[in-house]
């Protein structure tokens, strides 16, 4: 009788063990799947634009024509600023330099553009000297005021000359965001003013790898 009573007990124990094992496997797979599915949380604001970023051709600080779409295959960081900018532009360019440095050997997979919102004063020479303070790879872009206004509008950038009594002459108010354009030419992220170089670098690496 004891034998008969023990047998189902043992087989029940076996079933419980199998069940626990099953739960462990299913649970493990589920957790792995969730980790794999877990989206990368970008530091910048995400865009899902169905159209590629507007193309443009402007002159760089060496007097050469530079076209955005020639940089497909690279991540382009697009910024609008100007050389006489007292604080915001140097701070942002310093973060972009840091982001590029953090990429190490992959630094050549990105290109930083600064389009001037002060085309009257920012000649090729001025831009070359200004950008040399940050990173020799940065490209400064110069265009006719109306052309720059048209491009800036499309990229959500406003700019306006401010009368000021500063010895530097006038200032130019402008939107200080940085646009990330992915290797396929789509606007993917917007970084607000104050975004840190390491956060930008992290987002760049994710975009490059996905």
């Amino acid at each position: 009788m004891t034998h008969n009573n023990n047998k189902p007990e043992r087989s029940l124990l076996k079933k419980i063990w199998i069940a626990i094992l099953g739960i462990a496997i299913v649970g493990g797979v589920l957790i792995l799947a969730l980790i794999a599915l877990k989206p990368y949380a970008f530091h910048g604001a995400v865009l899902q634009s169905p159209k590629p970023a507007q193309d443009f051709t402007l002159l760089n600080q060496y007097g050469q024509e530079t076209t955005l779409s020639d940089y497909r295959g690279k991540v382009v960081l697009l910024y609008f600023g100007y050389a006489a900018c007292p604080d915001v532009c140097p701070a942002t360019l310093a973060e972009l330099r840091q982001a590029r440095e953090l990429l190490g050997t992959r630094a050549d997979e990105i290109q930083v553009f600064m389009i001037t919102v002060d085309p009257e004063r920012d000649t090729a020479e001025v831009m070359a000297e200004f950008l040399a303070h940050f990173d020799p790879s940065f490209i400064g872009l110069i265009g006719a005021p109306e052309q720059v206004a048209q491009i800036a509008t499309q990229y959500g950038i406003f700019f306006q000359k401010q009368d000021t009594s500063s010895v530097m002459g006038y200032l130019v108010d402008h939107t200080a965001t940085v646009m990330l354009i992915d290797p396929e030419g789509y606007s993917r992220l917007i970084f607000p003013y104050g975004a840190r170089g390491e956060d930008i670098a992290e987002d760049i690496i994710y975009v490059l790898d996905h």
Partner: protein
């Protein structure tokens, strides 16, 4: 079978049921997207214009606000699809029932900046703005015609053109299709309503989705919303 073992079997079924529920909820989240998020369509244009009071208004003034844009002009009458009245209705609806703690703004952009000076816009806006105490700001914007073209035609992709008026030879009308655009505080276009007959409930629903997104954009909830974006856009 003993009572003890039948209890254990019940426990087993319970465990299986729990697993089934977890799996089903994950799959259904992916498939049915219970967290609705509006797509982040594209960048709204940057601009620097003047409002009906002659004050400067730039795209930066609307950063951090949910802003609804419409497009019209002061000579818009007859067949012209003037949607300004509907903006007034939206304003009332938003003030009455949109979630609190979020800044809302309305912007009407003229498609006829040649004739629509700030003064003309002021007269046009007056009956709509009224004298009431409003929590939702409303600006009527005009500016350099070319810059307006860049903003409306380029940035918002709304085509408009001047055509000779049938009533007089030296007059003109602006031909355009009615359009409302909802822009979030990041300056990203989140919804477009190409209609002359705006569905206020739809707009309020969209505003509610954005409000939930804004209010939950920290910590774990941010993850939930990022996930919803992921499932929507990269299936």
């Amino acid at each position: 079978m003993s009572e003890k073992s039948s209890k254990k079997f019940k426990l087993l079924y319970l465990l299986y049921a729990v697993i089934a529920i977890v799996v089903t909820s994950v799959v259904s989240f992916a498939v049915f997207q219970p967290v609705k998020v509006l797509p982040r369509i594209s960048l709204a244009p940057g601009y620097a214009f003047i409002n009906q009071d002659g004050e400067s208004r730039t795209s930066e003034d609307y950063r951090g606000k949910l802003t609804l844009y419409n497009f019209s002009y002061t000579h818009c009458d007859g067949e012209c699809p003037d949607t300004t009245q509907q903006m007034q209705e939206v304003r009332a609806a938003v003030e009455e029932s949109a979630p609190a703690g979020i800044d809302y703004a309305l912007v009407t952009v003229t498609l006829d900046p040649e004739r629509d000076t700030p003064e003309a816009l002021g007269l046009f806006a007056d009956p709509y703005l009224g004298t009431g105490e409003n929590t939702v700001s409303w600006d009527f914007l005009t500016g350099d015609p070319l810059r307006v073209r860049y903003m409306v035609g380029g940035g918002f992709s709304l085509f408009y053109e001047a055509v000779a008026s049938p009533n007089s030879t030296d007059d003109y009308d602006i031909k355009f299709y009615p359009l409302f655009i909802l822009v979030d505080g990041w300056g990203i276009i989140r919804a477009e309503y190409p209609t002359a007959d705006l569905d206020y409930d739809e707009v309020l629903n969209d505003i509610n989705y954005l409000a939930v997104e804004i209010n939950n954009s920290e910590g774990a909830a941010k993850y939930a919303y990022e996930a919803a974006h992921l499932f929507r856009c990269y299936p």
